[in-house]
Symmetry: C3
Subunit: 342 residues, 3 copies
């Protein structure tokens, strides 16, 4: 791609070190890895010194770098440009085409003509696979389940019976959609299994990371709304709902019946308790542990969570407690002396 | 099913809004989702307002609801009734019958005639599969392993060599039984692998959630006793034992050689350290982190754990520490003044 | 093996209760499980009473046990001897030999003659499988990926396209190498996927536990250096690097771009934040949460981490805070009285 075309397409400004020149961009990578023909980028001004030594042919940045020796592509949201260009320069490809006779397709299933079935994929009774969907080896689609148009199921990802996967979703390797929710009725002698009769619904453009598990509802459906992005090893319990464009980072756990708003972010290892509600736009820091509903938008840390800015100060204060204990003992002794003196 | 039969079978009391009528129950679901012909339920009196608007034909409850317009089925443990009826009204079914020629069965393996083998299941040398057991696609049973009568291995669940799965167990998708325990001997230059020669034993009626991992013992067997229920993404380390009817919720981690009693509950993300013992009936709250053995039954929270009732108060107190620091400084200054004055 | 040969081979000292005798060792197990012909061991002097009742024929120990009735094998690092002997007495075996015609191998792939392919393994286009490598059923090796000499991929382990697995690596069941890193560019209306163009490199002798996930780099490679050992359910984010011989215990989470030194240990459920550096030889206790880089070697606990020795004391102090609050209120009251009196 020509750099000038990229500028037009991404609505970026172009600044040249001296006279404008045309540059052909073949790749996109970091300052350190870039070679001639690559567009590189800087999103963190900490790395500004590396700009001088990069071998890239042009640089993407949010703010013009004074005196930079490279043509600069200026855009207020460089990450968005990275995403857009990355998709064009390095499009996702699949090594298999067509529908392998080594895939198992139940005769009552419906598979679109343009769908790709790798060898050893499995499509159960009455399941339906949309146009341009891709099932890698060992992907499993259970009976009466649906995989929407353009969705990709990577190896050993599992869609259990009756679950619905929207269009353009991605299930990474080992993701499990629709395992049973965890519901048991304790009796004097036993733990009776409460049948998990519901399903899971992933709306369009939902991405589920490797080995993440989205449990089937007891009744109704565990639902991940449009554009939800889930990292690796995340657990979403039965009957939970996750609002549109919310991001759940690695190892987050969401208990049953929780209701997460839209455009939230839960950082790594955060946990949200049973039945808890989290308002739109809430940000949970790493390992935040939510034990009561959050209605006020903002950034939270800790368990129970406090506003993120307070958390760090609070941790700093807590380290002083052993010292406070000593100070109080000292104060008590002094006061006693004073009292004895009066 | 007739409501009157349900009452007899479950030993529930029946109360009608006016004259007794017969109702046929076809399904079981929540207040909001229920349609005519459904039995609904209320287990949390928070939802009592929804009772008025439900379309259900009858309601299950622990305590009679005064003035309710629906026939009421009264039982002290409604969850147990939900479990029992759910199993009858929505029995688990498997979409495949028989033993697929596309499954791989080693000639030295023994598979009961009534067992179901989906296409692409794998049964290794000398493995044995009990009557009515079900192996979904990509289920793996290693050499000399055993799967008991009526147990179900969902897609991509794995039973490594020599492990023993009891009767009526359930392994959800991606569950791994018998991966190597984590044991290495550090030397000056290396980390020598300590062979994990033991196995895993799941006794009868054990359920393992999606992507949970139960590691193989170094010697002997990692053991989950009768009726243990394990949620998704739980890790049980080598040589651990988990007592009968204990429940481990999502993302719980149990380190090697830990001994968990029977009828315990570990809530989501709780952790139990190496070699630690937990007495029967102990309840660990969400993310409790057990670093010393617990002998006194009760409910615990925090790391190290404290009785759950204290934990919330303690967290509340800790938030006051920055304020305490100021107060102490103030006290010190005042006291100094007084001392200077005397 | 003869005990005298074991002593020579492992450079251990042999002590007999009375006159030296020759003992043939056939197995290796714990004090409680040992039978005649077994070598047992004691690594924790807590279990010293069990020595008297063991049925073993000899015992391995770091320090001579006075008055022991068994021949003693004395070695300063008994774990290393356990590893070495265990590998000899219980060598890893694979139940299949050769390359099954039921495995899928793309015609452009290259599989060494001595490699073992179980039925239903998958090798993609241009992938290469080294000598003596073993692919279990449902193991997936994507296009252009490489599996080094002697590496073992257990069932349902996945190596995504272009990732490189070194020699003598072990991927336990359900491990996923090269799922997409978690990168999205938020825009006003969307979350644009930032293509994850990089790969994963596992150097030689790396072991990855069951259901662990090592995410693909955005650019370049997520790298686990020589001899890194990873337990079950560990997540390593995109672009992270883990130094040689570092051990990551179960459920550890390492965020993107983190740099972990060599010979570190991260205990269960520890978390390391985005872009954070951890120096060589650092030990993180269970659930340590690293939010700032650690440059000083040592053992750390807590979030944010403090030296491990301080942590326990600090937790003990924190329990006194409710009491401190009362004491301070009392001091304030007393002081007021004094001030009123003067």
């Amino acid at each position: 791609m020509k750099l000038s075309d990229i500028a037009v397409q991404t609505k970026s400004q172009l600044i040249f070190p001296s006279a404008p020149i045309e540059v052909t961009i073949r790749g996109l990578t970091t300052l350190a890895l870039a070679q001639s023909g690559d567009l590189t980028f800087i999103t963190n001004f900490q790395y500004r010194d590396e700009v001088a030594t990069t071998k890239a042919s042009a640089i993407l940045t949010a703010k013009a770098i004074p005196g930079c020796h490279l043509p600069q592509l200026i855009h207020p949201n460089p990450y968005a440009v990275l995403a857009q260009l990355g998709q064009q320069l390095h499009p996702v490809t699949h090594s298999f085409t067509g529908q392998s006779p080594l895939a198992f397709v139940d005769p009552t299933a419906s598979v679109a003509a343009s769908a790709i079935l790798y060898p050893q994929a499995y499509v159960g009774p009455r399941a339906s696979i949309g146009e341009h969907a891709v099932l890698y080896p060992f992907a499993y689609v259970g009976s009466d389940a649906h995989v929407g148009e353009g969705s990709v199921l990577y190896p050993s990802s599992t869609v259990m019976e009756r679950c619905k996967i929207g269009a353009r979703c991605i299930l990474h390797a080992g993701a499990v959609i629709g395992g049973d929710g965890f519901g048991f009725a304790p009796t004097k002698d036993d733990l009776l299994k409460i049948p998990q009769m519901g399903t899971v619904i992933l709306e369009d453009e939902v991405e589920i990371g490797a080995s993440s598990t989205i449990d089937r509802a007891t009744y109704g459906a565990t639902t991940l709304c449009h554009g939800v992005k889930v990292d690796s090893q995340v657990q979403v319990g039965h009957n939970a709902t996750v609002g549109a464009y919310t991001m759940l980072c690695a190892q987050v756990g969401i208990a049953g019946s929780a209701k997460i708003g839209s455009r939230c972010i839960a950082a790594g290892q955060a946990g949200i308790g049973h039945g808890i509600s989290i308002g739109d736009g809430t940000i949970l820091g790493p390992r935040a542990g939510v034990v009561q509903s959050i209605t006020k938008p903002g950034e939270y840390m800790g368990m129970p969570p406090v506003p993120a800015k307070e958390w760090m100060k609070l941790q700093f204060s807590l380290k002083k407690v052993p010292d406070l204990i000593k100070k109080i003992a000292h104060l008590e002794a002094q006061l006693e002396k004073l009292q004895a003196g009066t």
